[in-house]
């Protein structure tokens, strides 16, 4: 009796094990990825994840979208408090210092070790173009995976500029003003001439162009930054120029700041209420297509600079993908596999074409310069890419020849002198400090406040935020 019982028990255990074992073998490892997009860019990312999941059935990459960088940044901090971080988080460039200080992340270099491939996907970090790998290499270590990289450029409505007798988009602040004078003198003049998103990034761009740093200790790159300078000559020049443009009736300022400001510029440019808009190259595809749809010619050009100080170069912007520290080994491997595949030659090229973000790999740029890129990319391409009108229209010819707007941001970065100012600042609490910057410009533009005094007051406020941040976050 007893023997029979134990035999039955053994049989039962065996059956259970058999039933469960294949389930274990087939159950893919979940890899959660958080990105700061909710539009077609999220669709694209999710479609790429689906293709990846088919190619690597042992993994299940799940992509969640957040409304903007700022919101994702807060969500990550909250998730960390609750020990519920995903495997990969997209952090924007100004959160780099916060990301380093947080201790949530592991550098890509240390996760890779000396592997040259993960699950058959090649590791080729040297293929990333110069400014990109420079920005995300911290203390000599490749820290986060570059993904969406952009620069600030300008889009011009050439129909309006041509009507005013201007053939090429203006290159300097003075030329923008002169062009605006001509545009506003037209019989069919638009309501305004120029607009820009009141987002801290543009202030940073214009300050960097004048070769002025934003923070001490070499913009926070030789040592932790302890002081922000918003009231440098360069900073005051930016505020004064914008105020001057506003006073003359050339500048349209919607009153929206930070993440809310982008859409207001889109609207003004699309409805032809302005002739020129400073914007991120990230939306080159949308802006170019807007012109096609609304019957005007859109030309991208470098972001105008202060002719009195000259042009040193521009910063890159955008975000990178950070690998969370302390993941289970199979999750970390899945995340690494995805990151390497997701930023490979074809995918980097595809991402560039559907958005306008810079093609971050040299090999992608090389491929797009040939005429047969379409056939090379099609087998693993997403539906968003296949549905893209610009991509379809450019088939059969080198991509940049068919779409010259798409090379502007890359050229702007390539021609930039890489120095302390144009590398961009590494600052703690930078997202909060950006809010101080946009608030200050808001005050300068909408009240009679003196630009210099306003920027000095903003500096004091920003420094207090930085001091408090460093007090709480700097390693002892």
């Amino acid at each position: 009796m007893n023997r029979r019982k134990s035999l039955l028990l053994a049989l039962f255990v065996l059956v259970c094990a058999l039933a469960v074992a294949p389930a274990f073998a087939q159950e893919p490892t979940d890899v959660h990825v958080w990105v700061a997009f909710t539009d077609y860019r999220l669709d694209w990312t999710q479609q790429k994840a689906a293709i990846f999941n088919e190619m690597f059935p042992q993994y299940n990459v799940i992509v969640d979208g957040y409304a903007n960088y700022e919101e994702l940044f807060s969500a990550a901090a909250l998730a960390a408090e609750q020990d519920a971080l995903p495997a990969v988080i997209q952090y924007f460039e100004v959160a780099t210092q916060d990301a380093r200080d947080s201790g949530y992340f592991k550098s890509i270099a240390s996760a890779l070790g000396d592997r040259t491939e993960v699950n058959g996907v090649q590791v080729d970090l040297a293929d990333f173009i110069g400014p990109v790998s420079a920005y995300y290499t911290l203390d000599g270590e490749f820290t986060s995976m570059p993904w969406n990289t952009s620069s600030a450029i300008m889009f011009s409505n050439m129909n309006l500029l041509n009507a005013a007798g201007i053939d090429t988009p203006p290159a300097t602040w003075g030329e923008v003003e002169a062009a605006c004078e001509a545009v506003m003198a037209l019989d069919a003049a638009p309501e305004f001439c120029f607009t820009w998103p009141n987002h801290g990034w543009f202030f940073e761009q214009w300050v960097a162009q004048q070769d002025a740093p934003l923070a001490n200790n070499d913009n926070g790159r030789s040592e932790r930054a302890t002081e922000v300078v918003l009231d440098s000559d360069a900073g005051i020049a930016v505020a004064s120029w914008l105020k001057d443009m506003k006073d003359k009736g050339y500048l349209y300022y919607s009153g929206a700041q930070g993440g809310d400001s982008w859409a207001t510029v889109d609207q003004a440019f699309q409805t032809q209420q302005v002739a020129m808009a400073a914007y991120s190259s990230s939306d080159t595809a949308v802006y170019t297509q807007t012109g096609v749809d609304n019957g005007f010619d859109v030309v991208a050009s470098f972001l105008p600079y202060n002719e009195e100080t000259g042009w040193a170069g521009n910063l890159l912007g955008g975000a990178s993908l950070w690998l969370v520290d302390g993941l289970a080994p199979e999750v970390e491997d899945g995340a690494l596999t995805f990151l390497l595949w997701f930023t490979n030659t074809n995918n980097a090229a595809e991402w560039h074409q559907v958005t306008g973000y810079i093609a971050i790999r040299q090999s992608s740029n090389d491929m797009l310069s040939t005429a047969d890129w379409y056939a090379t990319m099609e087998p693993t391409a997403s539906q968003v890419w296949k549905d893209n009108a610009l991509v379809q229209a450019a088939q059969g010819s080198p991509w940049f020849d068919a779409n010259p707007n798409f090379i502007v941001a890359a050229n702007q970065l390539a021609q930039s002198t890489v120095d302390v100012a144009t590398s961009g600042a590494l600052l703690g609490a930078f997202p909060s400090i950006r809010n101080v910057i946009t608030q200050a410009l808001d005050t300068v533009l909408l009240t009679d406040a003196d630009p210099a005094e306003t920027m000095t007051a903003a500096s004091a406020e920003a420094n207090q935020i930085l001091e408090e941040y460093n007090l709480l976050n700097a390693p002892e």
Binding site: S254, G255, A429, I465, E468, L471, L472, N473
Partner: protein
């Protein structure tokens, strides 16, 4: 800090407590000595409520005078919070009345534990999601704290005293009151007028009434988006109409003088349905015979409205003032966030919105917590004031 400070404070508050309770006992013909002793103990213990967690930091030598003043204010509040209930309880004990009224209520629970058992789910939720976070807010308000930071730093009452010295914050308080009062006054006046019209016995009145109540069912965020489209300075419908009619364009979202009005209009519209609903119900309860009698006496429509309808509606108005004030202080957040984001030049940043900007957007938890405590205290103060002033003029009977 001088180590004698805690002792000195407790001696002073103890003396005040002793004097107050002893006086109360003498008036009630009780033993003055016992009263004095009770008062002394209560008074001496009161400052500990705030000063134990703060460790008497407001009286440290390097603190500014505003910190000392704030510390004294806290002690004053603690003293009131302790002495008033102690006096009440001891007076009832003195009068040999039971502190807790123990009447046999029909249908009362027999066991001691059954009511607690039944209350437990509610209490658990309240403790977990309301009381604990509230208490934690007090702790946070004394800290320099950022979400995700390695550590926090104790800053005593700096988060509060800095607010008093911050002209930007005083401006925000002004804006909050301006926007809130405008929402309440315009909202109530408008809804009373519309309710009067909707109450008229005309064909299809019930359809009009239903349509008028709709905006109430829309969330503040959706209201914000609707008005964002309407108020858009360049492409919005309102400026299109204004431009066509009068040739003017108003910078609803980028003119600091106009933006508060955009928020006020959106918020008034949003709460209109709720107010109208209550006013229609109120109008239905105004006795017809009073109005008829007044009409026979020769009172015209306006006089009847002014002298009879408005006074009879006063309980409803009073209730609506309280709910609308709460709405204006707390629930306009969604509308503001979607409509103006607190701008331009902070012209629509209310106290509530500022808490979100400081505490959530900028991650500065300590300062956000201090501001929310201040707002909390202010709303309590306002409600008490409402009950004390307006409440007395409310007529509940015909």
């Amino acid at each position: 800090m001088d180590s004698s400070v805690p002792l000195l404070i407790s001696v002073v508050t103890g003396a005040i407590g002793a004097a107050l309770i002893a006086y109360a006992f003498s008036r009630a013909h009780g033993n003055v000595l016992i009263g004095g002793a009770i008062g002394a103990i209560a008074g001496a213990a009161a400052p500990l409520i705030f000063m134990l967690p703060l460790n008497y930091c407001t009286f440290e030598a390097e603190r500014e005078s505003i910190d000392v003043a704030f510390g004294l204010l806290l002690i004053g509040i603690a003293l009131i919070a302790v002495i008033v209930p102690v006096r009440w309880i001891s007076m009832r004990l003195l009068g040999h009345q039971s502190v807790i009224a123990r009447q046999i209520v029909p249908g009362a629970f027999k066991g001691k534990w059954t009511p607690w058992l039944l209350l437990a789910p509610t209490l658990a939720i309240l403790v977990l999601f309301l009381y604990y976070p509230s208490l934690d807010t007090f702790r946070l308000s004394t800290l320099l704290a950022r979400l995700g930071a390695r550590r926090t730093a104790f800053v005593c009452v700096d988060n509060f005293t800095r607010l008093a010295q911050d002209s930007g914050y005083l401006n925000i308080i002004g804006i909050t009151f301006f926007i809130s009062i405008a929402i309440v006054v315009i909202g109530l006046a408008l809804s009373l007028a519309i309710a009067n019209l909707a109450y008229l016995p005309i064909k299809g009145a019930s359809i009009y009434r239903t349509l008028l109540i709709w905006p109430y069912a829309i969330s503040p965020a959706v209201a914000g988006i609707i008005f964002l489209l309407l108020f858009n300075p360049t492409g919005g419908l309102i400026n299109y109409v204004l431009n066509g009619l009068f040739g003017i364009k108003i910078g609803w979202l980028n003119d600091p003088a106009a933006a508060p009005w955009a928020v006020i209009m959106a918020s008034v519209w949003k709460s209109l349905g709720y107010n109208i609903l209550f006013y229609i119900a109120g109008l239905q309860n105004v006795p017809k015979d009073l109005l008829e009698a007044a009409a026979i006496d020769g009172a015209n429509a306006w006089q009847r409205f002014r002298r009879i309808v408005i006074p009879l509606l006063s309980p409803i108005t009073f209730f609506l003032i309280i709910t609308n004030m709460t709405y204006a202080f707390f629930e306009t957040f969604g509308t503001i966030d979607y409509l103006t984001g607190g701008g331009p030049v902070n012209a629509t940043t209310t106290m509530m919105y500022n808490i979100y900007e400081v505490g959530i957007v900028n991650n500065d938890l300590g300062k956000g917590a201090a501001q929310s405590i201040l707002l909390f205290a202010m709303v309590i103060g306002l409600t008490v004031l409402q009950f004390r002033t307006t409440g007395e003029r409310v007529t509940y009977g015909a």
